[in-house]
């Protein structure tokens, strides 16, 4: 279903993928959601997703995608686990300190769901390797901690033609948007200038909130549920219990996805 919308691949997913009895039991509580059904679960099983960045956002995203039964998850991160990560990076335990995140995450996710394929890639994603690392997936989830690399995966997603699920957080709040390349606003359309890079304070539970919204977007996309946060920026502020949605549109002069 590479580059196609889930609706186009509906019949293909139902014809080629079947669920085992154990899978039917494992996912029964979501299969029973009316718009979801067995067909929705089969689409998840057929889906291939890259999670770029296995930190606070990536932990929540990867755990929920694995638990939900996304068939193939690639975790890309070149960091090692540090003590100061453990307030928010719930993929890891104290025993993981000093180990690389990609493979620690792979091990943890496999324990959560042994029925899916999980690949940890202990590499820094760059302009040079981004397309190579992402061309075998149907979607990429932005769980990064800097805009320089966010622009790299934004551009790679546009080049390959796969959706990008953006999330970011700081202190007690965060933002989420979903990009369908060439159809809806991309990261560069909306954030042409990055903020200065620094180590941002983050409450773990807030990173978890943003990450679970991203994971929900990914699942909704593959199942074919609408609306998504396309052409929308969701701004969450835990201090005031607020969710604001800003309507977006593509910038025709965008250096990444523009037509002019």
């Amino acid at each position: 279903m590479h580059g196609n919308s889930p609706t186009e691949s509906d019949s293909m997913a139902s014809d080629s993928i079947t669920l085992t009895e154990e899978e039917m039991a494992r996912y029964s509580r979501q299969i029973s959601i009316p718009e979801f059904g067995k067909a929705g679960q089969e689409k998840l099983k057929n889906a291939r997703v890259a999670v770029v960045g296995a930190g606070g956002l990536g932990s929540a995203v990867a755990i929920y995608l694995a638990a939900a039964g996304i068939g193939y998850i690639k975790i890309i991160d070149d960091d090692v686990v540090e003590l100061s990560n453990l307030n928010r990076q719930i993929l890891y335990s104290e025993s993981d300190i000093g180990r690389d995140k990609a493979h620690s995450a792979e091990k943890k996710l496999r324990a959560i769901n042994p029925d899916i394929e999980i690949v940890g890639v202990n590499e820094r994603i760059t302009e040079k390797n981004a397309v190579g690392l992402l061309k075998d997936v149907d979607a990429v989830v932005d769980c990064l901690d800097n805009f320089e690399t966010r622009y790299v995966i934004n551009d790679a997603a546009i080049e390959i033609g796969i959706p990008l699920f953006h999330g970011a957080c700081m202190e007690m709040g965060g933002q989420v948007m979903t990009v369908i390349p060439k159809r809806t606003a991309c990261l560069k359309c909306i954030f042409p200038n990055p903020p200065p890079h620094k180590k941002t304070p983050i409450l773990g539970a807030v990173a978890g909130t943003i990450g679970t919204i991203q994971a929900t977007e990914v699942i909704k996309f593959f199942v074919g549920m609408e609306p998504l946060l396309t052409n929308k920026l969701l701004i969450y502020d835990s201090r005031f219990f607020s969710y604001d949605i800003i309507e977006l549109e593509r910038n025709e002069k965008c250096p990444s996805c523009g037509v002019i």
């Binding site: 901690d145 903020p195 941002t200």
Partner: protein
């Protein structure tokens, strides 16, 4: 005319309020508003290069003109993950 301005994240910290009401000349642009607010809250000036704006819940550029009762949001791109 009166408009409502909401601030998020670093911009809220710079202003010290999450929402204010502002009296501004008819037909002013968002750039006019930013200039006016930066006089009153100098820390906003430091954030100018990565300030994102919306007008009535729609992404907007600095040249957009406001009218009475409009709602503006001022926020940064967030970076952390």
């Amino acid at each position: 005319m009166k408009i409502k301005v909401k601030f998020f994240s670093s911009h809220r910290d710079a202003v010290g309020e999450k929402e204010i009401e502002v009296e501004i000349k008819e037909n002013s642009s968002l750039n006019d508003l930013l200039e006016m607010l930066s006089e009153k809250y100098p820390k906003l000036k430091e954030l100018k290069d990565y300030t994102v704006l919306s007008l009535n819940h729609r992404y907007a550029d600095g040249n957009s003109r406001m009218k009475e009762g409009d709602e503006v949001a001022i926020f940064p791109p967030l970076e952390g993950g």
